[in-house]
Amino acid sequence: MKTKIKPAEVSAKRPVAVLEPVAAPRKPKAVVPVKERRLRFGAEWEYAPAPETVPAKIEARYELFIDGKFVGPHSGKYFDSINPATEEKLCEIAHGDAEDVDRAVKAARRAFEGVWGKMSGRDRGKYLYRVARLVQEKSRELAVLETMDGGKPIKESRDFDLPMVAAHFFYHGGWADKLAYAFPGKTPRALGVAGQIIPWNFPLLMAAWKIAPALACGNTVVLKPSRTTSVSALHLARIFQEAGVPDGVVNIVTGTAETGAAIYHHADVNKIAFTGSTEVGKIIARACAGTGKRLTLELGGKAANIVLEDAPLDQAVEGVVCGIYFNQGHVCCAGSRLFVQEGVYATVIKKLRDRIQTLRLGNPLDKNTDVGAINSGWQLEKIRELVQSGQEEGAEIEQTQCALPARGYWYPPTFLTNVTMSNRVAREEIFGPVLSVMTFRTPEEALERANNTPYGLSAGVWTDKGSKIFKMAGKLRAGVVWANSYNKFDPASPFGGYKESGFGREGGAQGLSAYVDLS
């Protein structure tokens, strides 16, 4: 390759044979580097409001769903459900008590012994498929409900929550008549009545996540949604009615922590599945100890998202953003601790700072909203308190520069730098859109720091080198490790924690084992 290219001299404008003489072209501006190398994310071209127009039929009052019917609570009491984006009352929800739970458990027991427990897997599967299809048909309306009740952006409830709800019913519908293949050489038998207590971050998805495998395996269910997000579960109850699922197979008892306690203290419940805080998880574990109840817990997390210096940085930043700001950070597997290798630290911070400026916070029903409302005033206080403690301990704060709506519960996407491993913001689960950024020097150090937490639900690794991914994934003490991606879910993939993030797996063939007796 000896070809040498001679630098061409700037061409003298030769007169060219043209039909008519033309004048010299306009001179382009000379290239002058600008001094301030900043990107400007302003209002040059502002997106007009694009609210979702499908109407949601929210009723004034919701009752308990017991034995296939909507019934009033024993106490006669109701509590308000608030739209966190406006602080306005959305509807009233029945306050179930121990009496109601007992009715529900009895109905579930009857349904288990009378119909569901005896039904062939193939027939159970048919019901689950029917539920899945109905969820798909009503998905737009359910997405609007979910967004109004919980504050999450319609983009996420529409594109993530609802498709996953349907996927879980479809997936487990498929297992219903194939359980023998999931446990070769064993005879899987249903446990009986499953008590299920779910959180407020993915109300409908968590309901599907719990109900679908339980029903597929032949169990019946008493489900308690979170106090702040009961509406969508009750609409799901209607879908069970519409699908003709036998009475008592699914019972939904709304209420408070005491309602939940009545479920896990009930003597005739065979299995408890709980998703929520580690604090409550420990209480439940104590209550179930020695009772013979089977238990799975999916608790908190403080996941490490590790960016190595050979990572595809722009995509890593994308994964970091998805990891922590998805669903306002109300995600148990949120990548709330970012570990960046020192060599690329400055670049990653710079990119992250720019990236969060393009996140749009506001009306959750607007299709262009990326970050919705914090689920409750209580949760907002907790986030504020933790961020303040971080700042007091020396952390520097970076936030999306955006106006917060006057009413409702809002917290802008935030990340904290100058965080050390001993800071509270690096150890406690914030459950909000707040990221703590730390550094490391070598992959070994990243592993040590990532594992230095009582939690162990999930982790992320970003590198261009496959061998590093396998090496690190094997040593990270977390139930799920995402490589060059984050927050990816599939009903076929088991999900669950190490250490104080709980035990048991949900999803996949592994998730079925929590709902069958193999002895």
């Binding site: 033309v22 306009r26 600008v34 190398r37 400007r40 690329v344």
Partner: protein
């Protein structure tokens, strides 16, 4: 430890100049931009901006002076004045047609004359003829030269040669703006696109452009995103704003708005100008006009109401 964490930014780091690109994540990110819902006032403003960014293109063997006249007039006045639609950014033609375009547009036209050059579309020609072609085009009045990168040399690993050639053409451009066509459909991987973008920008490109339109796939959202990210990192490193031109395959108003959203959310407002963002297209213009008229009038007009170029 706290004090040591505020490092100076070192955008010149070798590792960071040409980072790798993760295919799955960049494709997901690109798809995100199509989910923005652009309605009413934003749609109208966006579509008018798109018109001002279109390089209205004809690149056919059968191009004639008469055809160029149609194209130039359409670019100058895309639709009747009452819709307040700006002129297109440029007309893009073969070198032999440059003189006619110049004549029809006049000297102080808001519409620029862009010429493809350097053995378009393959680039498989001697440098000497490429230089001559470039000089002829600028001499005939081209404001902008759309050169094709030597993909053969790039894929053979001869990056120095690619770079030297771009530099030489830049020299021959004189005052004309240089757009370097990477022909991403032949580079295939995003890593290649990212590297080629960096080579082109360092060698003197004023714009980087995805495709000739003669190879499939032409412009796609993810490939354009890779190039926008390269432009952004080059800007941080040098303070120079390089322009971007996706070309080929952008046929609908909706697609073009997704590109605009991507530019706005990747490079920011400073790039929302025909000085720094163009779309190479021919059929796109009338679809955009149709949507503009629909947004203003409230109903769709038949295609017969929109003049051909």
């Amino acid at each position: 430890m706290n004090a040591t964490l505020s490092y100076p930014v070192r955008p010149g780091s070798i590792r960071e100049a040409v980072p790798t690109v993760d295919q799955v994540t960049i494709e997901e990110r690109a798809a995100d931009f199509t989910k923005r819902s652009i309605k009413t006032s934003a749609k109208l403003a966006g579509l008018k901006m798109v018109v001002s960014m279109i390089d209205l293109t004809t690149l056919e063997g059968k191009d004639t002076p008469g055809r160029i006249a149609y194209l130039c007039r359409k670019a100058l006045r895309p639709i009747e004045a009452k819709y307040e639609v700006p002129s297109c950014g440029a007309v893009c033609v073969y070198p032999n047609m440059v003189r006619y375009a110049r004549r029809f547009l006049g000297d102080n036209s808001p519409v620029r004359v862009a010429s493809v050059a350097t053995g378009f579309p393959s680039g498989q020609y001697p440098l000497r003829t490429k230089l001559e072609e470039t000089r002829r085009a600028t001499g005939d009045g081209a404001d902008e030269i759309d050169m094709v990168m030597d993909r053969g040399a790039f894929l053979a690993g001869d990056h120095g040669r690619v770079s030297d050639e771009i530099g030489a053409i830049k020299g021959a451009c004189g005052e004309a703006h240089l757009k370097v066509i990477l022909e991403t459909g032949e580079l295939v991987t995003y890593d290649n696109v990212r590297l080629a973008s960096q080579l082109a920008m360092e060698a003197g490109a004023d714009f980087i452009k995805t495709s000739t339109g003669k190879v499939q796939p032409a412009a796609t959202l993810p490939v354009t995103l890779v190039m926008l990210e390269a432009i952004r990192d080059y800007f941080f490193a040098t303070g120079v704003r390089i322009g971007m031109k996706p070309a080929g395959g952008i046929r609908t108003a909706k697609q073009s708005l997704a590109y605009l959203v991507m530019v706005k959310e990747t490079l920011g407002d400073d790039w929302l100008t025909p000085e720094l963002f163009r779309i190479g297209a021919s059929t796109l213009l009338n679809d955009v006009l149709m949507q503009i008229v629909k947004t203003v009038e409230g109903n769709y007009q038949s295609a017969d109401y929109f003049s051909l170029s």
